[in-house]
């Protein structure tokens, strides 16, 4: 059914269309058609291993430690704002972190290398911070006031007629900036889109409200929540609120025994994303060291997702003591200063406890168990290997390599057309389909192109050319034996088939084995080679053949072939 000319053309166009679509959507998302690896783009490459110099841990224990840390590290990296970071478990006991295009290396290293900090804190009532809230607003206004005045001149175009309200806007610093240090370079403080939207909202409101708002930069962001002990705020205000809270001046006016901490993930309520901000006791009553194990299960009776945990003996005593006094209160599980979960205490809990997650899916329970176990990690991860590649260097080599590669392709085109004439043109057409397919395949698999990957590409291009050469040589041989054009073409394809199939399959086997058993660079090579072989197989045997069929359609048996 794939042999009629029309079906052939439709199929080929469909395949090209798919490749083009993948390339286009990749381009839309990341600005380049194929994701470039660290060696080509520049950035950071970190290899982490469990710090176990004496070799006390079993392989399973190390493997488990890596599993636990993966989620945490991924979460921390999100803070860096790196696009598409790669956090990947390699082998049994190693974690690879690749951050393409990261510029703050020190911070990246710190974020990746630090041990997860798990704490259990009591949730306090909102009323305990109520009195402190105006002080927080005043502290922010007092600290940022001078800077905002200076910056008014710069941001005047945002709101030319209401320059006195701009002061309010200035508190909304760019969330991409280091939130821990909003004073750093205030001239760069850009009013972002959210702030602009918020401004329009504000303008719509009564002037009085706007004036009041200007004096309440922080509390105006807070919304009351159903649960006591927490505020809600719109997720788009999260970065701004976090940067306010990180200011030392704000920390100074908070009650000494209280800390305000965010939930680590946004929550969707009625189609909008919110963040919870918890009022917590500053000091944890128990930390991750006392946790021994945690696992996710499902309660059969109530069909609830449950996380069970096991504390050490000392931890169990402490936990029982605190939970006994706080039945009905909430306890927050805090990881790296972000609240992961805040369940209500139902009864006194000793060394063994469970957290019920309601009807939520198991995914969430597993996540929480993983986080708990990570917080209880017996051995920290150690950075084994670190590479920093200067992006400019990468760019130079890409540009040069690209130019050389293009000239190489032009050479192939020239040789093929000089040697095979019109048939060479067909081959070049088929090879352009091949290039399209390979790039589309890389984009579809979301594969990263690295230098070894390019080696795989070169080999597969060589094989694609070879397949065409094999076919054409065979057709020439058949023609030389005096066969008619059509027969010669059929025979040529038929006889070249076995060589192409066997050569391609052998190489594909090798590529798959390299993929299975190799790591990193060897894998990159294997992936592009595999894609290349499949594409070469398709183009040589199907696309070239179809082009021939179209070409020969109007020909008579005695016509000659330009080959």
């Amino acid at each position: 059914m794939f042999s009629s000319i029309r079906v052939r053309i439709i199929l080929i166009l469909a395949v090209i269309g798919f490749s083009g679509w993948y390339l286009y959507s990749n381009y839309q998302q990341s600005g380049s058609i194929v994701k470039l690896g660290l060696d080509l783009q520049g950035g950071m490459h970190l290899v982490l291993e469990v710090d176990d110099p004496e070799g006390l841990m079993s392989l399973e224990a190390r493997s488990d430690a890596i599993d636990r840390s993966e989620r945490i590290i991924r979460n921390r990296i999100d803070e860096l704002g790196v696009e598409e970071p790669i956090v990947q478990k390699v082998g049994q006991d190693r974690l690879i972190v690749e951050l393409a295009g990261v510029d703050d290396e020190e911070r990246a290293r710190e974020l990746v290398g630090q041990t997860a900090m798990l704490e259990w804190k009591l949730v306090r009532s909102v009323s305990q911070v109520q009195a402190a809230l105006p002080r927080i607003d005043r502290a922010i206004v007092a600290t940022l006031g001078a800077d905002s005045l200076r910056a008014i001149g710069r941001d005047i175009e945002v709101s030319p007629e209401e320059s006195d309200e701009v002061a309010d806007l200035l508190f909304r610093t760019d969330p991409d900036q280091d939130p821990a240090d909003p004073e750093e370079d205030p001239e760069e403080a850009v009013v972002d889109e959210e702030a602009e939207a918020a401004l329009q909202e504000l303008e719509a409101e009564a002037d009085l409200a706007a004036e009041e708002l200007a004096l309440r930069p922080f509390t105006s962001l807070l919304l009351t929540s159903e649960g006591d002990g927490e505020f809600l705020l719109l997720n788009e205000d999260f970065a701004l609120a976090r940067s306010f809270l990180a200011m030392p001046e704000v920390q100074a006016v908070l009650p000494r025994e209280i800390s305000l901490q965010f939930h680590w993930e946004p929550v969707a309520i009625g189609g909008r994303l919110y963040r919870a901000l918890y009022v917590l006791e500053r000091n944890p009553f128990i930390t991750g060291e006392m946790l021994e194990d945690a696992s996710a299960t499902r309660d059969q009776q109530f069909n609830q997702a449950i996380v069970q945990f096991q504390l050490s003996r000392a931890g169990g005593r402490l936990f029982g003591d605190v939970t006994g006094r706080h039945i009905g209160d909430r306890i927050a599980i805090v990881l790296d200063n972000e609240v992961v979960s805040a369940p209500v205490v139902r009864s006194r809990i000793g060394a063994r406890g469970q957290i019920e997650l309601g009807q939520q899916d198991m995914e969430e329970a597993r996540d929480l168990a993983l986080v708990l176990r990570a917080g209880a990690l017996p051995a920290p991860l150690r950075i084994m290997e670190e590479r920093t590649v200067g992006p400019s260097l990468g760019q130079d080599s890409i540009d040069q390599g690209m130019r050389a590669g293009l000239i190489g392709l032009v050479l192939i085109v020239l040789i093929m057309i000089a040697y095979y004439r019109f048939t060479g043109v067909l081959a070049v057409l088929a090879l352009s389909v091949y290039v399209m397919l390979v790039l589309g395949g890389l984009a579809a698999l979301n594969a990263t192109l690295t230098l070894p990957g390019i080696a795989g590409l070169i080999l597969s291009i060589g094989m694609a050319v070879d397949a065409n050469v094999l076919i054409f040589e065979r057709i020439r041989e058949e023609l030389a034996e005096g066969r008619a054009v059509r027969t010669a073409v059929d025979e040529g394809f038929g006889h070249a088939l076995s060589a192409i199939v066997d050569a391609n399959i052998t190489t594909l086997i090798t590529a798959l084995i390299l993929f299975q058993f190799g790591t990193g660079p060897v894998r990159g090579f294997a992936v592009t080679l595999s894609i290349g072989i499949i594409a070469s197989f398709f183009t040589a045997l199907y696309v070239t053949r179809s082009l021939y069929l179209v070409y020969l359609r109007g020909k008579k048996a005695q016509d000659t072939l330009s080959i």
Binding site: V47, G91, M384, E385, E386, T388, V389, G390, S392, L393, D396, S397, Q400, G401, R403, A404, G405, I407, G408, L409, L411, I412, I415, M416, A418, Y419, R421, L451, P452, A455, G456, I458, L459, I461, G462, V465, V469, L470, E473, H495, S498, A499, D502, A503, I505, T506, T507, I509, T510, A511, I513, L514, F517, G518, T519, G520, P521, V522, F525, L529
Partner: protein, 327 residues
């Protein structure tokens, strides 16, 4: 006018095989000698890059006019770690090997300080610093080696299934020959073994297999033609090689043209890589004609073909039957 190189060529390739054996043996010996010499001179059979040994690799950009010798002098003269010019006129890589009990950062800082302290070098910029743990090198090597061995085994099975066992064996012999020759070359010229060089060696395996299989495919086809099995194997193999010679030359030529473009225009980063690939294409083409095909012939001479084996088996069983009758 039509180009058709080597059409109807009748080169007596297999008659030249003894010479090819000598040639391969000599080149292989040179390679092995180079490896041995390396063991004595640089302590390892290949010049492993930091990817393998572990250590610190620093790329610096020095002011124009500063020479390699001056940089080496700044880093301790005769005791300086290997320094090489890299890419642009004034960029250099310094490869400091891992030191027992010294953190990589310490080594990097020390080198930076040494350059800064040198009066001959003014303002300089560190473009790139790499710290590599040595265990990764060892493990990666083992894994790559394991993967290659498994792939040999799988190739052997596939070719035994599609062709005959001796074809599989001969192609593995040719591939091993190619790898050894390449490794010898790398040792001789002390090309730094880095991840891209490993990729290049893998590419050579693929290319060599591809080339060998094309030749073998023609031999298989001619064997299966009428009278093919009765033909003198030497003439048949020779004829097959000559029949695919135009294709071999054209494919290798095109690939080489592309690689030469990469070599000349591709810049310093991929230079070693391209050189290894070019070498691989030459060796791979050579071996498919002068190693794989002769190996096939030698195996056949020594162990006979499948048909001969079956014939002998039949004869033997017939003999046995005959022997059995008188009882």
């Amino acid at each position: 006018m039509k180009f058709w190189i080597f059409r109807n060529a009748r080169f007596p390739f297999l008659e030249w095989r003894k010479k090819a054996y000598v040639f391969s043996a000599v080149v292989l010996s040179i390679g092995v000698l180079a490896m041995l010499a390396n063991v004595v001179l640089i302590g390892n059979w290949q010049s492993y890059g930091v990817d393998f040994t572990g250590g610190t690799r620093i790329l610096v950009e020095l002011p124009e006019g500063v020479t390699e010798a001056e940089l080496r002098e700044a880093l301790g003269g005769a005791d300086a770690p290997p320094v090489s010019r890299f890419g642009a006129e004034n960029e250099f890589t310094i490869r400091a090997p891992a030191e027992e009990g010294v953190a990589a950062e310490v080594v990097a800082t020390r080198i930076r300080d040494q350059i800064a302290a040198s009066p001959a070098i003014g303002e300089f910029e560190v473009l790139q610093t790499e710290f590599v743990g040595p265990t990764i090198g060892a493990e990666l090597q083992q894994q790559a080696l394991l993967a290659i061995l498994i792939s040999f085994f799988a190739t052997l099975i596939y070719l035994a299934f599609r062709f005959e066992f001796r074809f599989g064996l001969a192609s593995i012999i040719a591939t091993v020959h190619d790898i050894l020759l390449t490794l010898g070359f790398l040792a001789l010229f002390r090309v730094e073994i880095s991840l891209p060089t490993v990729a290049a060696v893998l590419t050579i395996i693929g290319y060599s297999l591809n080339d060998t299989i094309v030749v073998f495919d023609r031999i298989r086809e001619n064997l299966n033609k009428k009278g093919g099995r009765r033909e003198n194997p030497l003439t048949l193999i020779n004829r097959s090689i000559n029949e695919v010679l135009p294709r071999t030359v054209l494919t290798s030529g095109t690939t080489l043209a592309v690689l030469l473009a990469l070599l000349i225009l591709g810049g310093a980063v991929i230079r070693d890589f391209t050189i290894v690939l070019i070498l691989g294409v030459v060796i791979g083409t050579y071996s498919s004609i002068f190693v794989a095909a002769p190996a096939l012939l030698e195996i056949q001479k020594k162990f006979g073909t499948k048909e001969e084996a079956e014939r002998k088996k039949k004869q033997r069983s017939r003999k046995k039957k005959k022997e059995a009758i008188p009882v």
